[in-house]
Symmetry: C2
Amino acid sequence: MKKLINDVEQIVDEMLNGMTAAHPNELRRLEDTTVLVRKDAPVQGKVGIVSGGGSGHEPAHAGFVGPGMLDAAVAGEVFTSPTPDQVFEAIKAVDGGKGVLLIIKNYTGDVMNFEMAGEMAEAEGINVKQVVVNDDVAVEDSSFTSGRRGIAGTVLVHKIAGAKAAEGASLEEVQQTAEGVIKNVKSMGMSLHPCTVPASGKPGFTLAENEMEIGTGIHGEPGVERTELKPAKEVAQILFDKIQEDMQLQKGEEIAVLINGLGSTPLMELYVMNHSVAKILQQHELQVEETIVGEWMTSLEMAGASLTILKLDEERKKLLHAPADTVAFKR
Amino acid sequence: MKKLINDVEQIVDEMLNGMTAAHPNELRRLEDTTVLVRKDAPVQGKVGIVSGGGSGHEPAHAGFVGPGMLDAAVAGEVFTSPTPDQVFEAIKAVDGGKGVLLIIKNYTGDVMNFEMAGEMAEAEGINVKQVVVNDDVAVEDSSFTSGRRGIAGTVLVHKIAGAKAAEGASLEEVQQTAEGVIKNVKSMGMSLHPCTVPASGKPGFTLAENEMEIGTGIHGEPGVERTELKPAKEVAQILFDKIQEDMQLQKGEEIAVLINGLGSTPLMELYVMNHSVAKILQQHELQVEETIVGEWMTSLEMAGASLTILKLDEERKKLLHAPADTVAFKR
């Protein structure tokens, strides 16, 4: 295993310290936790937003902490849910009196631990709501999930719910807006190479030199099909078709598109992928309001990409364009 | 070779089209060229700034085109200098009457072709100046270079010269500011895994499972030492020591730090690296004014990282913090 690290046991701790060292004016680590919060948390009179999950998906989630997006990110061990007490600390740290929304990716451990933390906070008089993101259309259930998995579409939930909260909306309103994004965002991914969880030291799965996997999850969970290597345009068509089967997008509909690299796929390839995706969207006469290309929800050094499509309405469009000032996402 | 592409011959063309498809309000491709310019180029009354070089270093260079940084980026084939006629087209497209500065990374082909383009433009009455970035302290000469190579420090030249031009400075002033950055910016890199140029289909070099290379260039040029795999803190120390040997930074000096991923090194590892770098800088009682962590000057899917240190003065500090609104770098 070739990694630029010091100690497998300290990797999350050192990453979090490396982040606060790099961004001391933006991020603050809650003492004795794996929680990074906005430097100025809690923001009084604003709904707090907490997300997080296993580490290894950077810049998710701490890269999205800041004005216009998240108030706190809770980091678990690599590909492992954070414990309820860590999430509970995050909730307490970001409650500015208007309650806290938890944005959870749909994995059994995350849902259980975030829910438990929410209950602990409610018992202390903090108003907590939650939403669960399940944008991955690849599989209905998986090794770590009941129902669909939450993947890169989560970043759009962070962005839009974050902007709604920044406007001063109530907890119920922010939750409703987040639910609206979740209902209208679908993703599908593929991989060319696996990644290696540091503590295990071995790749999570194997792919032959001429093979790719369609529908792989962001922890290397099995996808829907293992197939021969295909050109980007065929990959784009497969991902789009599966999403479209579910979304049934109509001519003229306004959408946002996110092309997400899984870790080691060069930006050059992601833009080639977008070239192929854009052609398909044009054939379907869809109105692309925004395209976001880069690494947002990674899987360590996995090679591959995912396509996310979000159906827009006027509110989502406005909130997507609203300011955000986080380490990884600014506008 | 596993890449998410359609056709090795079309990879740069499709990447550029994928970029303009994603960012139609920010970037415009000059017809029949590999040049991307600011949508609103030429900006009247502002010095135009042109950079570029071989492709495969994304987001460099087109990701840095926009207000506050570059006016145009010229893309060559992968790891191959663009031809003079392409650079000439870029110069003509961004001259707003105040002249054009070329920011060139020190590779023989780039220097020759950008210089020739500058002469072509001068012959047409456009005032052109140039600077050559040679921040890599690893080697004095290399297979592609006379003198030191230009690597990730180039991005700080883009940022600071771009901010100076945005202030309305003259061509001579922008050139002088850029020269000031170049004199005070040093970098050093290392790699864990090679990358594969699409047209060749084979890795540019090989490293055993327990080996790393110190001082590798961004095209996989040989470094200074091939050694056993070391922990991040030792790597950080080696890179810092070599830079410090050259810079002789004194206690209390203000610096900016850039930790650059070469392509497939996860952001998690880059932050672990920054954790180790920050400790060393603290031991030397250096004043870190700004730390930038991410992928800025990549080498396709090479694994590894580079450390860049820029010595600040009041002007460089102010210009580093000035607004920039490009696809890959915003503040």
